[in-house]
């Protein structure tokens, strides 16, 4: 009997953080302009210490102003999607739940687009767009998961297969709406339909918004983390959880809102990048077990690592052109989804 201790939790997270650091340094190095690995390691530490001015200017611009924001964005988006995926899996008691598969990302995309259109229509300052799009994305995500949840219910019980079908159909319906909005109402700052449907990290937001994103992620993930041990029991079923002392309605509401918020946050800046929320929590469960006190932080760090790697592949394999990062994650994620589905049916 070896229950999880704070020390073991921090040690494991520390190891993942070191891996993330190494991945970030490698991702910074790879690209059209060559920079030395040693110099990069040193400069990343300088940035972390707030001494960016000490970095020499020749490649400082490339590293700090071009590659770094994109990698930071990958970290926040990957972490948000993974934590949202792990939360939806617990909330819906379905190991195949993922913001993308359930259509929640598409809902967030529609919300973002509507938000952007609203900003255009009202001719608000572009600074507003940074706030309105995440808000629209959150509302879109929250509304979609609600619809999918009710589609997935059969005689009061969540039916796993119906839930997935409901999610996939909802996603396809919302994609049609995205295409429609794109072709009829495209405004000046609406990104392309492929951005919303496949996702991309190629246009990182300005620094100020990036900090806001990081703060938003920490807030949303922190809220979910307060329910981590409740989620462990919720997996067994609502009646059982209630009898073990879980305030089921409260936990459900908190996790539902916070996971929708995280999905909205990620989608509003990167479109719908699929399967991260499915792949990463499963991989972390294999390594660390299914205790959410460990799983949630591990998923956050693992999601960051996975998406930084995926995005590095997306921008380097067909250089000087670029793949959509959603295509990279789908190439790995879709077969994995099929594998999980087959194993469940077996």
């Amino acid at each position: 009997m070896r229950p999880l201790t704070l020390g073991r939790l921090l040690l494991r997270c520390g190891i993942l953080a070191v891996i993330l650091f190494v991945v970030v340094v490698i991702a910074l190095k790879l690209g059209a302009v060559q920079v030395s690995l040693y110099g990069l390691g040193r400069d990343v530490i300088r940035v972390l210490l707030g001494q960016s001015s000490a970095i020499s200017s020749d490649y400082g611009m490339i590293v700090v102003d071009i590659r770094m924001p994109r990698i930071l964005l990958a970290i926040v988006v990957g972490a948000s999607l993974s934590v949202a995926g792990a939360s939806f899996q617990a909330l819906l008691r379905n190991p195949l739940a993922d913001p993308y598969v359930l259509g929640v990302s598409s809902g967030a995309s529609v919300g973002s687009i509507l938000g952007l259109m609203l900003v255009n229509q009202l001719a608000l300052s572009p600074a507003f767009a940074g706030l309105i799009t995440p808000l629209g994305a959150f509302l879109g995500a929250a509304l979609t998961i609600l619809v999918v949840y009710f589609l997935g219910r059969r005689s009061g019980q969540i039916d796993s297969t119906t839930l997935l079908l409901g999610g996939i159909i909802t996603a396809s319906f919302l994609s049609a709406i995205i295409t429609f909005l794109m072709s009829t109402l495209a405004g000046s700052n609406l990104k392309g339909a492929s951005f919303w449907m496949m996702g991309s990290l190629s246009t990182p937001p300005p620094h100020s918004l990036l900090y806001l994103l990081i703060f938003g992620f920490l807030f949303g993930a922190g809220v979910i983390y307060t329910t981590a041990s409740d989620l462990n029991l919720l997996l067994a079923g609502e009646i059982e959880a209630m009898h073990l002392g879980v305030d089921v309605p409260r936990v459900r509401l908190v996790v539902y809102l916070a996971a929708s918020f995280l999905t909205g946050l990620a989608v509003s800046v990167s479109g719908s990048i699929g399967y991260i929320g499915l792949l990463v929590p499963h991989a972390m469960r294999l390594i660390f077990g299914s205790d959410h006190r460990m799983l949630l932080p591990a998923s956050a760090l693992g999601g960051a690592i996975a998406l930084v790697i995926a995005d590095t592949i997306a921008r380097t394999v067909v250089a000087p052109s670029e793949l959509s990062v959603g295509a990279v994650t789908a190439l790995v994620g879709a077969p994995f989804f099929i594998y999980l589905l087959r194993r469940r049916l077996a």
Partner: protein, 289 residues
């Protein structure tokens, strides 16, 4: 409600503060409790559980007995506080079970369901530690005391050697014992079991009920078991609540409830009832002519 200094034993709590009024000997008191399932208020109800009453003391085993659709599970939900009675009340040490906060309820009432579905595999000891959830905050890590209590609970049901096994790799009887251990780790006053013998071999059924009897006596739990097994209820319970189609027909000792014509009418099967030397009724089913 967290009491980290509690002695690591599984004995039910007997604090006098839990007893605001009423007979101190009575722990569970069901008072004219009824319930109605209806799709909406204007339509005819799908199922009605008519008002019924009974009381149980610490250390007592109560069997809720009846055929399918007699209202056994509904009654259990009223007792556990999962449902609020339409009329009447269910009191545990003088507190209405329905209005207990989730954590308080989990510290006083433990429920063992027919089977526990697992989404992701976990080890038996992790499963038993879940019973300690109600004794900590949202994110707390299990203490030494929790681990000791979980180990004791496993030992009490004779499942210590299962601690490191995976829950999906053990037999039905072993799983049922681990689930019971989790309930014991909650240190409840009231232990509820919903058809605990349903998927068990006869040997495992007797093992389970033997340990229930022993635990109720040792730890002063009040035990309520829902079952349709006539002989197991007759052999192991102190009190039988006999239900049929939402009506409570009889409450009393097995010897007083087990009457041939009554049971034949409730269970729709010809049978005979005889008394054994221990004063327990034994039911034999006869073939229909």
């Amino acid at each position: 409600m967290s009491t980290p200094h509690r002695m690591p034993s599984l004995t039910a709590k007997t604090s006098s503060a839990d007893q605001p009024y009423g007979d101190p000997d009575v722990r569970l008191s069901v008072e004219q409790a009824s319930y109605v399932y209806a799709p909406n208020p204007s339509q005819a109800p799908l199922f009605t559980l008519e008002a019924l009453s009974f009381q149980a003391k610490p250390g007592e085993v109560v069997a809720i007995l009846g055929p399918n659709a007699s209202g056994k599970s509904t009654l259990l939900k009223l007792i556990s506080g999962a449902l609020e009675p339409l009329s009447g009340r269910v009191f545990l040490n003088g507190f209405a079970t329905h209005s207990l906060l989730p954590k308080t309820r989990a510290q006083r009432i433990a429920l063992v369901q027919q089977e526990s579905r697992l989404l992701f595999p976990s080890r038996a000891w992790e499963f038993v530690l879940q019973g300690r959830h109600a004794y900590g905050g949202g994110l707390r890590f299990e203490t030494e005391v929790d681990v000791t209590i979980a180990k004791n609970a496993l030992a009490q049901v004779g499942a210590s050697e299962l601690a490191d096994r995976w829950m999906d790799k053990i037999s039905g009887g072993e799983k049922q014992r681990v689930i019971l251990a989790r309930a014991l780790a909650q240190q409840p006053l009231l232990l509820l079991l919903d058809e605990p013998t349903l998927h068990l071999d006869i040997g495992a059924q007797v093992d389970l009920l033997d340990s229930l009897r022993r635990l109720a006596a040792q730890n002063r739990y009040t035990v309520v078991v829902v079952t349709h097994e006539l002989n197991l209820a007759g052999e192991y319970s102190d009190q039988v609540v006999l239900l049929q189609k939402g009506k409570c027909l009889r409450v009393g000792s097995p010897a007083s409830v087990y009457q041939r014509d009554l049971l034949e009418q409730v269970f729709q099967a010809p049978l005979t009832v005889e008394m054994t030397s221990s004063g327990r009724p034994r039911v034999t089913l006869l073939a229909k002519k």
